[in-house]
Amino acid sequence: MELKEGSGRLEIELPVAIDLPMSGELRDILLDALARDSSADVVVKAGAVERLSTACVQVILVAADGFKAAARRLEVENPSSAFSDAFERLGLAPDLQKLI
C-alpha cells in the first residue's frame, strides 16, 4: 500500500485484506496525504478488497472527515462488494455513498 500521485490527485490502492496492523498503515498513509501541502483529492481504490476490519472502516471515516475539514475530498473508487458490505453492516452505508 502506498500513496501515488497521478493526474492531479493522490491515489491509494487497498490490498485484498486490511487487518488491524494494515489499518494502522492506512491511517499513517492518509495522515501523510492530509499533511501534504497540496489541494489534491485522495482516491482510495477499493476494488480488490475482500476482507476488511472495523478498524479500517473507522480510519476511512475519520480521514474523510479530516479531508472535508481541509476543503479537500476523500473519494472511494470502485468499492468491492466486501467493502460496501462492511459499511452496510456497520450501519454506515449512507456514509460510504457520500464518498463514492
Partner: protein
C-alpha cells in the same frame, strides 16, 4: 492454531449433518416399508444402524439431548431386530414418529437451538414402552396427539434492542464488531444505528482503537440466550452490551393453519409497541406460507445440505464426454486452420470461444473429482504414533500442503504407497533415540509429509532426518540376491533405485512393520499405475526423501506435438524446459558416455528418438534437427532429438495399459485432431532407456531395476 481447530470442527459438523440428513431419509424410507408390513429383519437392522450412526456422531459433538433420545430409540430398535419384541403396525408407527423427533433434534443441533426439555418426551416414553411390550396395549389416549413437528419451533417473535459499546481495546483482542454484527443479523431481521460521536481527529487517532458504537433493533424468534451468545466473548471486559426486549412476543394462533405456518415477524421499522397488533391480522392466515420453510417438515426434509453425493460412474462418464469434446474441438480447430480471420471472422472467433469454453468446462469437471490430500494425510499421525511406540523410536510428524487437491482416483491409489513409505521411514530411516543422540541429532526424529502443486503435477514428499540409505548394504544385498552382477560399477543414484527392485529388503531382521521385501516395488507399481513416478534422494547420515510426482488428473494434459520421421509424439508440456537447434560444437560424442549436448557449460545426455524407437526417414544430423531439453521428476535433464515441433495442444489421455499393454518409454496415447493416434512420451523412462542404450556395454541389463521390467 485454535482457529484452525474450530474451523476443522465446523467442517466435520457439516459433514455429520449431511450424513444425518441422508441417514434420516433412508431410515424414513425403510420405516415406511416396515409400516406397510413389507419389511424384513434386514430393514430393522438398517434402521438400527442409521440411528446408531446418528447417535455416535452426536456424541462426538456433545449434542446431549440428541444422543439421549437416539439412545432410547436405538435400544428399542435393538430389541426389535433381535426378535425380543414383535413388530406390530402400532410399534412401526411409534418408530416413524421417533424418526421425526430424532430429525427435530438433529435440526436443533444444526441450528444451534435448544429444544424445550420435554420435547419428544411422549414418543420417548412410547419407544421405551416397546421394550416392555406395553406399547402395544392401547393406551387410554388411543391416538396420541402428534408431537413431533410443531414443538420444534419456539413460538413467537420478539423485538430486541441491543446496545454495543466497545471498550477502546476491543479490536486488539482480536474481536471485530463486523463479525458479531454478521452473526447477530443471522438471528433475524435487524436494523443498525451507528454512534460515531467518539470518533477523533485523524491525527489523534489510533487505528487499533474501537471508537464506533452501535444500537441494533432485532426481530427474532430466538431467545435472549441466542443474542447473548453472539457477545459471549466480549461482554463485560471488552465491550458494554445491553440487551433489552422492547416488543412483546408474537404468539402463533392456535388452530390456524394447523400450526403449520410460523407467524410473520414484524419488521424492525415498525414501532415495537404497535408491531404486534398491526401484524397480528395476517399472522395465522394461510396465505403466508413463505415462512413455513424452517424446521417444519417431518423427517429429514428440513435439514439443509450444501452438497450432493453423485455416483462416481456418472462423473466418469462426464469426464469421458468432455475428453471426446476436447478431441472434437481440436479436430474442428485443425479443419479451420486454413481459414483466415479476414475471410471468416465469425467462424474463427467462434472456434476460439469454443476452445476457451471447452477448457473451462474441462477444468470444472476435473474440479468435481478433485479432493484435498488431507483425506490421505489424516491417517499418518496415528500411524506414526503407533509405529514409533512399537519400534521404540521417537518421531514427530510434520505435514504441509494438506489442502492440495488431487484427482480422487489418484488419492485412492496413493493410500497404500504412502502408508508404506511412512513405515519405511520409521523402520529403516529414523534411528533409535540413543543412536540419534550419539550422532548429535535430537532424540526425536522428524518425518515430513508434504504435498504441493508443481507445474501441473502434484508432488508428494515423504522425508525423514534419519540415517539415509546404506548404499554399501544395499549393493551387497542386491549382489547376494542376484539383482546385480558382482563388480558392476554403479552410481549412488542407481544403487538407491535398487530398493525398488522386486523382492528386495535389507532389514536384517524381518519385523512386522516392514522388511518383508514386498514393499517398495509395490509402491512404485502403484504410483506408476496412476501415471506417476517415485524418486528417492538420500544423504547418508542426514536422511532420505521420497518424491512422488503425480499427474493432477488422469484425463487431459497439455502437450507439445513433435515429429520424428513420419511419426508424431506428444511430449508433456510440463517436462519441457527449452528447445534449440544445436551447433556442431554443442553436440558431441564422448567416449564411454555417448551423445551429449553442451548447454551453458553443462553436459546433457542426448537421446535420439529415432534410434530409440527405430524410426526411418528421420533427421539424424543433430545440427539439422531440433533438440528438446526436458526435465524428469528427479531433476535430471536430457535432450531429445526430434525433427520438428508441430505445436502445443491439449490432448486427451487414453491409457495404453488398459487398451493394449504397457510400452516402455510411452505413458499413454492420444487421438489427434486429424484422427491419428499419437503416443505420449514418458520422459523419465526415456532417460533410463537412453542410458541403457549408451552404456549397455558396461552395465548388465539387470543391474538397474528399471531395466528389469
Amino acid at each position: 492454531m485454535a482457529e484452525d481447530q474450530s474451523y476443522d470442527l465446523s467442517r466435520f459438523k457439516a459433514t455429520y449433518f449431511e450424513e444425518c440428513a441422508e441417514l434420516l431419509a433412508s431410515a424414513e424410507e425403510t420405516l415406511s416399508r416396515l409400516q406397510d408390513g413389507e419389511g424384513s429383519v434386514e430393514d430393522l437392522n438398517a434402521v438400527f444402524r442409521c440411528v446408531h450412526s446418528i447417535k455416535g456422531g452426536g456424541g462426538a459433538f456433545a449434542f446431549e439431548d440428541l444422543v439421549h433420545f437416539a439412545h432410547v430409540f436405538e435400544t428399542s430398535m435393538d430389541a426389535l431386530r433381535s426378535g425380543r419384541v414383535q413388530l406390530t403396525p402400532h410399534v412401526a408407527e411409534i418408530l416413524v414418529r421417533g424418526n421425526d423427533v430424532l430429525g427435530d433434534f438433529v435440526r436443533a443441533a444444526q441450528e444451534g437451538e435448544t429444544l424445550p426439555p420435554d420435547h419428544g418426551a411422549e414418543v420417548k416414553t412410547q419407544l421405551a414402552a416397546i421394550l416392555t411390550g406395553d406399547a402395544d396395549t392401547p393406551a387410554p389416549a388411543a391416538r396420541p396427539a402428534p408431537v413431533a413437528a410443531p414443538a420444534a419451533v419456539p413460538s413467537g417473535f420478539a423485538t430486541w434492542t441491543i446496545r454495543l459499546t466497545p471498550a477502546p481495546g476491543l479490536l486488539r483482542t482480536g474481536n471485530d464488531p463486523l463479525l458479531m454484527i454478521r452473526e447477530l443479523s443471522g438471528l433475524g431481521e435487524m436494523k443498525v444505528a451507528v454512534d460515531r460521536s467518539r470518533l477523533p481527529l485523524l491525527a489523534d487517532m489510533d487505528a487499533q482503537t474501537a471508537y464506533l458504537a452501535w444500537t441494533f433493533t432485532l426481530v427474532t424468534d430466538k431467545g435472549r440466550a441466542a443474542i447473548e451468545e453472539v457477545f459471549e466473548f466480549v461482554a463485560g471486559d471488552s465491550a458494554d452490551v445491553v440487551i433489552e426486549q422492547t416488543g412483546q412476543p408474537v404468539e402463533a394462533e392456535e388452530g390456524d393453519g394447523w400450526g403449520l405456518f410460523a407467524p410473520i415477524p414484524p419488521t424492525p421499522d415498525a414501532p415495537p409497541a404497535a408491531a404486534a397488533p398491526t401484524h397480528q391480522g395476517t399472522v395465522g392466515h394461510p396465505a403466508a406460507p413463505a415462512t413455513s420453510a424452517k424446521g417444519q417438515e417431518a423427517g429429514a426434509g428440513g435439514i439443509h445440505t450444501s452438497s450432493i453425493r453423485v455416483d462416481l460412474d456418472r462423473v466418469d462418464r462426464l469426464v469421458n464426454m468432455v475428453g471426446e469434446l476436447v478431441i472434437t474441438q481440436a479436430m474442428l480447430g485443425q479443419q479451420a486452420s486454413g481459414f483466415s480471420i479476414e475471410s471468416h471472422p465469425e467462424l474463427v472467433q467462434g472456434l476460439q470461444e469454443l476452445s476457451h469454453h471447452t477448457r473451462e468446462l474441462q477444468e470444472s469437471v476435473m474440479a468435481i473429482r478433485a479432493q484435498p490430500v488431507k483425506a490421505l494425510f489424516s491417517r499418518a499421525p496415528r500411524l506414526v504414533r503407533d509405529l514409533s511406540t512399537k519400534l521404540g523410536k521417537q518421531a514427530r510428524l510434520v505435514m504441509s500442503g494438506e489442502g492440495t487437491e488431487v484427482d480422487k482416483t489418484v488419492i485412492e491409489q496413493l493410500s497404500d504407497p504412502l502408508t508404506h513409505l511412512i513405515r519405511n521411514s520409521l523402520d529403516h530411516g529414523i534411528e533409535t533415540p540413543e543412536e540419534r543422540i550419539a550422532q548429535g541429532k535430537p532424540a526425536e526424529g522428524t518425518i515430513h509429509l508434504a504435498a504441493e502443486h508443481r507445474s501441473g503435477r502434484v508432488v508428494i514428499q515423504v522425508s525423514d532426518d534419519g540415517k539415509g540409505i546404506d548404499r554399501k548394504r544395499v549393493l551387497e544385498k542386491a549382489i547376494e540376491k542376484g539383482l546385480v552382477d558382482r563388480g558392476a560399477q554403479m552410481t549412488d543414484e542407481q544403487i538407491d533405485q535398487l530398493i525398488f527392485a522386486p523382492g528386495f529388503s535389507t532389514a536384517a531382521v524381518v519385523s512386522d512393520v516392514s522388511g518383508r521385501g514386498v514393499g517398495m516395488d509395490v509402491v512404485r507399481k502403484n504410483i506408476q499405475d496412476v501415471g506417476g513416478r517415485v524418486v528417492v534422494q538420500s544423504t547418508p547420515g542426514q536422511g532420505s526423501r521420497f518424491i512422488l510426482s503425480l499427474p493432477l488428473t488422469l484425463a487431459v494434459m497439455d502437450g507439445m506435438l513433435v515429429a520424428v520421421g513420419n511419426e508424431r509424439y506428444v511430449l508433456p508440456l510440463t517436462n519441457i524446459v527449452e528447445s534449440l537447434r544445436p551447433t556442431a560444437q554443442q553436440a558431441r560424442t564422448l567416449v564411454n558416455v555417448g551423445d551429449v549436448l553442451t548447454l551453458r557449460g553443462d553436459y546433457i545426455r542426448l537421446i535420439r528418438l529415432y534410434e530409440l524407437f527405430g524410426i526411418k526417414n528421420a533427421i539424424t544430423d543433430t545440427t539439422r534437427g531440433l533438440v528438446v531439453v526436458v526435465e524428469t521428476e528427479g531433476g535430471d535433464r536430457i535432450g531429445l532429438l526430434v525433427d520438428e515441433l508441430l505445436g502445443q495442444q491439449q490432448v486427451v489421455i487414453k491409457s495404453l495399459d488398459s487398451n493394449y499393454r504397457p510400452v516402455e518409454g510411452i505413458s499413454a496415447a492420444t487421438i489427434l485432431g486429424d484422427g491419428r493416434v499419437a503416443l505420449i512420451l514418458d520422459v523419465g523412462a526415456l532417460r533410463i532407456m537412453g542410458e541403457r542404450l549408451m552404456s549397455g556395454a558396461q552395465l548388465v541389463a539387470a543391474a538397474s531395476p528399471q531395466a528389469a521390467e
